[in-house]
């Protein structure tokens, strides 16, 4: 394998039509042409078929088979033509060095440094002031691009619409009573007036009475009659923790399988979630409706920088 390209000096021989480089690749060009021709006819029919299928509003499958077979067959035909019947060579082309000569490079550098230098070094003040102005422009043009997009977080992430006395309602606005859930039942609730609102979503679970007494010290009265309420927003990435394993009293987040032990206070036992689900303190009012006793004990949802 020589490192020299074929010599391109001197007159080239005229191209002979029986030059092996120009011959079809196929052993039997006639057969190859026949196959390609059949393929292209099939392709044509396929496209006609697609036209018909579209006209009669045929199913997705009919549209796809006609269009797909048409494309496949026509493509196969053209490709077979190119591969088997057109000159394959091998032909050679020289690579030319495309980088400039040393002299050209030096001239370019000189143009920049000397011609530019002539003006910049002498008028350094102007250059500096231009740079200052352009930098200022660059910075302030970013303001509308970024700041106008949306509001500042402020305290929004630290509070929800749950307040002392907020009534627990379902997504349909139905008020939840103490008789609604059986032991082992689970329900998605919101504060009244904020149904469907993402930060306010709460999962209400009814534990057996004796289990609810085991909820964390200092928060035993955050549940009532076996009911406990936690933020449904996973503390990992905010997915709704809708999967409740009733026999083990575990909430499992369907997104990345963080497990929260409900009885222990929705404490994460496994998986990527770092913090327990914030608990909503609830109670029963005189008419049997469930109400919140206040907002959550911590900001809901995933972690962020300002979270203490």
């Amino acid at each position: 394998m020589s490192d020299e390209s074929p010599r391109l000096e001197g007159p080239l021989p005229p191209a002979a039509l029986d030059d092996p480089h120009l011959q079809p690749y196929a052993r039997h060009p006639g057969a190859a042409q026949a196959v390609a021709a059949v393929a292209m006819v099939v392709g044509f029919l396929g496209f006609v078929g697609f036209g018909v299928a579209y006209w009669v509003s045929a199913s997705n499958q009919w549209q796809a088979i006609t269009l797909g077979v048409g494309l496949l067959a026509l493509g196969f035909g053209v490709t077979a033509w190119g591969k088997y019947l057109m000159p394959q060579g091998p032909f050679v082309e020289e690579r030319h060095e495309f980088h400039s000569t040393e002299a050209e490079r030096a001239a370019m550098t000189a143009a920049i440094t000397e011609r530019g230098g002539m003006v910049v070094k002498r008028r350094g003040l102007l250059f500096g002031l231009f740079g200052l102005g352009a930098t200022a422009m660059g910075i302030v043009l970013a303001f509308p691009l970024i700041r106008s997009l949306g509001p500042r977080p402020g305290t929004t992430l630290f509070q929800t619409n749950w307040k002392k006395g907020s009534q627990l309602v379902t997504i349909d606005g139905r008020q939840v009573t103490a008789d609604d859930l059986e032991v082992g039942g689970v329900l998605t609730v919101f504060p009244r007036g904020y149904q469907g609102s993402s930060p306010n979503q709460v999962i209400l679970i009814r534990l057996a009475d004796q289990l609810q007494q085991l909820t964390p010290p200092g928060r035993t009265d955050w549940g009532v009659l076996g009911y406990v309420a936690y933020s449904k927003m996973c503390t990992h990435l905010g997915c709704p923790v809708g999967l409740y394993q009733e026999q083990t009293q575990q909430l499992v987040c369907p997104c990345h399988q963080s497990i929260f032990n409900v009885v222990a206070g929705a404490v994460p036992e496994f998986g990527p979630a770092p913090r327990p689900l914030p608990q909503l303190p609830i109670t029963v009012d005189a008419h049997g409706f469930l109400r919140a006793k206040g907002d959550f004990n911590q900001p809901v949802g995933p972690g962020f920088w300002e979270r203490p």
């Binding site: 039997h28 057969a31 369907p254």
Partner: protein, 300 residues
């Protein structure tokens, strides 16, 4: 011609063949429509109009359930039946022969199996009619399998267990989905069921070897029984949470849309979303095209 059928040109032919087979499969499954939900038929039984209350709850109907169920029960398309007393004796015999070794002769449970008293005929019907019971190995979650008993025998066993605690527990429902609201059923399914069973009802793994099963073989009766009795790790959805009408709508949605998805786009690829799609896109799509490259180009 034989020369053309060498390995180089086999690739596009193989592609066409694979596409053809795939296409035939897809034609078979494509462009279907939601099938009518089957209604279960039972021997003539007396009907009751109230749901029996489960253990642990106050025995008087709750305010909420009275408010929600004040329409005559036969208009909801879902009502509960009381199994005839003639079922009890053969049920006891069946239970003694097949179930008492684990559940005890009075269904009070042993170390191997839980207490069945108070769970109700509907609960028993669910477990037995889905074939989950009798269960050989209680250390793993029971799976649906062909039921050991026919419908009559299943109801007889259920009747006997119910007779141990009359009036308590989930009753056997009769579900008529013909007037169901599919839109309501779909909304309820998404909110209450999809988190465990997936939005396409394919089922998925839970913790510690448990799993939420696929819904593709469930009957409307079994669906309502499961909703009310909360088998295994499934929560209990009583009438105060999901009303009878809502349970009917959910079972219509499951037996209709979930079990017979329209799938106009072609083969459903398992209903598990991008996992199946990624496999097909990479292996079939990119793979087939790489085979075509192999045909067109050189090997050196």
């Amino acid at each position: 011609m034989r020369r053309l059928l060498n390995t180089r040109s086999m690739a596009p032919l193989a592609l066409v063949a694979a596409v053809g087979i795939f296409g035939l499969l897809a034609f078979a499954s494509g462009a279907g429509s939601a099938g009518a939900a089957p209604t279960t038929t039972l021997p003539k039984l007396t009907t009751t109009s109230t749901t029996a209350t489960p253990i642990g709850q106050p025995t008087r109907p709750s305010v909420g359930s009275v408010l929600k169920n004040n329409s005559p029960s036969n208009q909801t398309g879902l009502y509960y039946v009381q199994l005839p007393k003639s079922f009890i004796a053969p049920g006891q015999a069946l239970f003694a022969a097949n179930c008492s070794s684990c559940h005890g002769p009075e269904a009070l449970g042993t170390v191997r199996a839980p207490n069945l008293q108070g769970l109700g005929a509907g609960t028993v019907d669910f477990w037995v009619s889905t074939g989950r019971m009798p269960l050989a190995n209680s250390s793993v979650q029971a799976t649906r399998k062909p039921p050991r008993f026919n419908r009559l025998q299943t109801l007889e066993i259920a009747a006997w267990v119910q007779s141990l605690t009359p009036g308590v527990g989930v009753q056997v429902p009769v579900v008529n989905t013909s007037q169901a609201d599919l839109e309501s059923g779909g909304t309820l399914f998404t909110l209450n069921c999809a988190a465990c069973h997936t939005i396409t009802g394919a089922g998925d793994a839970l913790m510690d070897g448990a799993y939420a099963p696929s819904l593709h073989l469930a009957t409307p009766t079994q669906i309502v029984e499961a909703i009310r009795s909360g088998p295994g790790n499934m929560p209990h959805f009583g009438a105060g949470n999901i009303t009878n009408t809502e349970a009917r709508d959910i079972s219509a949605y499951v037996t209709g849309v979930i079990q017979h998805p329209a799938n106009p786009g072609g083969v459903g690829l398992g209903g598990i979303g991008p996992v199946g799609e990624g496999f097909v896109g990479l292996l079939v799509g990119v793979g087939a095209l790489m085979l075509v490259c192999f045909w067109i180009g050189d090997r050196t």
